[in-house]
């Protein structure tokens, strides 16, 4: 795995999460972050929630061993989290910046209401990946799932990018893709039957601009998980909302 190292900061710490509540664990993580310790390793994590919540600082690298509990990296802005295992529901909930790299599978609602930063999942993800994610100016949330995702992918999505690589099971993507979507783009490897699209979404042509963007993300995915996904061998289906303001005619201002 290639992660940018921070040569100026040598400090590292290992925290044993065994039998700790999420409050105890997070308070130890926060103390370490406050002391500018840049490599924090968490051992024996078993379902503790909200790991690294609200940490707004760049240059912190968290390595999680075990099963990361729900809302991993919630509200965080800056840290890079690498999970050696699976993550439960909603990793990256409302995060603004930083990266979450999950070397395993993830539960439902990956990147729930994400505002910026990136999430990479090696395997499969559950339902409602990228629900409510949103972009603003330079903040462009990005989710890359190596396996497949279940139904309601990009539900109510208002911005950002989702890439589904479908590595092991082509066309196993769920349906209701992009239901209620009004911004952002979803790229899915392979063909997607029309009945799986949510209302008010449309397939668009995969153009050069998309190619540049997605190829870079596939390269990054390959680097993190030591995979050899061949971008050139994949035909992507690009899904966009029909309208950026689907409800503009529904309400009148006067």
């Amino acid at each position: 795995m290639k992660i940018k190292k921070y040569p100026n900061k040598q400090d590292s710490i290992t925290i044993d999460a065994k039998n700790k509540t999420y409050r105890e664990l997070n308070s130890e993580i926060r103390t370490a972050a406050d002391q500018d310790i840049c490599h924090i390793t968490l051992q024996n994590v078993l379902g503790q929630r909200f790991i690294a919540d609200g940490i707004k600082k760049e240059g912190i690298y968290l390595s999680v061993f075990g099963i990361a509990g729900g809302d991993l990296g919630v509200f965080m802005d800056g840290p890079i989290i690498y999970v050696n295992g699976n993550a439960e529901h909603a990793p990256g909930n409302t995060m603004s910046g930083g990266k979450i790299i999950i070397d395993g599978d993830a539960g439902d609602c990956v990147g729930h209401s994400m505002r910026g930063g990136m999430i990479f999942v090696k395997g499969n993800a559950g339902y409602r990946v990228g629900i409510h994610m949103k972009q603003f100016k330079d903040n462009y949330p990005t989710i890359v799932i190596g396996g497949s995702a279940q139904s309601f992918l990009g539900e109510y999505m208002a911005g950002g990018i989702i890439v589904i690589l479908n590595i092991d099971k082509p066309s196993s993507i769920g349906d209701y893709i992009g239901t209620g979507m009004h911004g952002g783009t979803i790229y899915i490897a392979g063909d997607v039957p029309d009945y799986k699209l949510g209302v008010a979404t449309v397939k668009e042509e995969f153009i050069d601009e998309d190619r540049v963007l997605v190829e870079k993300l596939v390269d990054e995915y390959n680097a993190y998980f030591n995979k050899k996904v061949d971008f050139d061998a994949i035909t992507f289906t690009k899904i966009k909302p029909i309208s950026l303001r689907p409800f503009s005619n529904m309400y009148t201002t006067e």
Partner: protein
């Protein structure tokens, strides 16, 4: 919220309750201390031909007298005792958990159009709807439910569940939302050998309740999960549907999906939807329903509640969270989340226990 957990040893091997307690306690955030409980199968081998009635008594005088008078109208009690507890005085509105090992008397059922199990259902419904200070919360053979208003760990210690050995366990950690937290409202719910744990809410409760009431069931526990128990009793025990089909009837496929199915399958699913439209459950839910033979785990059709299944050798685990399963068994052979609305059935592979 709410946390659910279950485990089944398909080879019938019995284990004590310490493992399920560990798994359930890991999900403390899913509850608020207003209800927790366990269902254990295979715990009363010495009374395996008798119905084990677990009853909450308000007092040891009238309530006990009333319930015994009712039970003896239907059969005879071979043994009864207070369920052994370690009372630490930590619970509010404490009830007295009492148990009766009971056998229906065919002579007392004479002239009534009942088979034995119908008689038990009728008896339980009568006791629970009469507001006489007694509530039957478990009525199966060789199984028992242990529940109270408290945290998973406290409830487990209160009932000393590590002294029981079962081949299948269910656990539930409650976060009451729409209805009060009280002893009777804690999960699991039971009737005969059914044990039900549920996370979510049944928004179709009104329709479902009227439906089961038309078949003689009474909803008396002030919570939506109770109706799931009676729906399974009706569909599986009385209408003889296999567990998986019953699950499909309660969380039916959408018409748009039914239309795309091959003809035979389409007919089956259309028939289930039409026949059981009043039994279909709406709203967000993940449930595990067990009987003596095994369990079925099911979520609502659009996956508004989580459910994870893990396997290790002959053991199958089910829970709201992967971590809870790994707290019980760290080295699993496999773990996955079943698709929404797909009933997952696991049953014992041995006949005799």
């Amino acid at each position: 919220m709410c946390g659910i957990i279950g485990m089944l040893n398909k080879d019938g091997k019995r284990i004590d309750g310490s493992s399920i307690k560990k798994g359930l306690s890991l999900m403390n955030e899913r509850g608020n201390g207003q209800g927790a409980g366990y269902a254990a199968y295979g715990i009363y081998p010495e009374f395996k031909d008798h119905y084990a009635l677990h009853v909450f008594l308000d007092n040891m005088k009238e309530a006990k007298f009333n319930v015994e008078q009712e039970i003896e109208r239907w059969g005879y009690i071979v043994y009864s005792e207070e369920i052994p507890t370690t009372d630490k005085g930590i619970f509010e509105d404490e009830k007295i958990p009492y148990r009766y090992f009971f056998k229906p008397d065919p002579r007392k059922l004479l002239g009534r159009d009942y088979n034995e199990k119908d008689a038990i259902v009728e008896m339980v419904m009568r006791i629970n709807s009469q507001k006489n200070g007694a509530l039957v919360f478990s009525s199966g053979k060789n199984m028992g439910i242990f529940k109270a208003s408290g945290w998973p760990n406290d409830v487990a210690e209160f009932y000393k569940i590590n002294q029981y050995k079962g081949y299948m366990w269910l656990g539930h950690n409650r976060y009451p939302t729409n209805t009060p937290g009280w002893w009777g409202g804690a999960h699991p719910f039971g009737l005969l050998d059914w044990g039900v744990v549920h996370n979510g809410e049944i928004t179709s409760y009104g329709t479902n309740k009227r439906y089961v009431e038309s078949f003689g069931y009474n909803c008396s526990m002030l919570t939506d999960t109770e109706v799931v128990t009676y729906l399974f009793d009706l569909l599986v025990r009385k209408h003889k549907l296999p567990l998986r089909l019953a699950g499909m009837a309660l969380a039916p496929m959408f018409w748009k999906d039914i239309e795309r199915m091959p003809e035979q399958k389409r007919q089956l699913h259309a028939a289930l939807r039409l026949t059981y439209s009043s039994a279909a459950m709406n709203g967000p839910f993940a449930i595990v329903v067990a009987n003596t033979c095994g369990f079925v785990a099911l979520t609502d059709r659009i996956k508004l509640r989580p459910l994870v299944i893990g396997k290790k050798g002959k053991a199958v685990y089910v829970s709201s969270e992967e971590a809870a399963i790994r707290a019980m068994e760290p080295l699993l052979d496999s773990i996955y989340s079943p698709p929404a609305g797909d009933p997952i059935v696991h049953q014992l592979e041995v006949q005799t226990l």
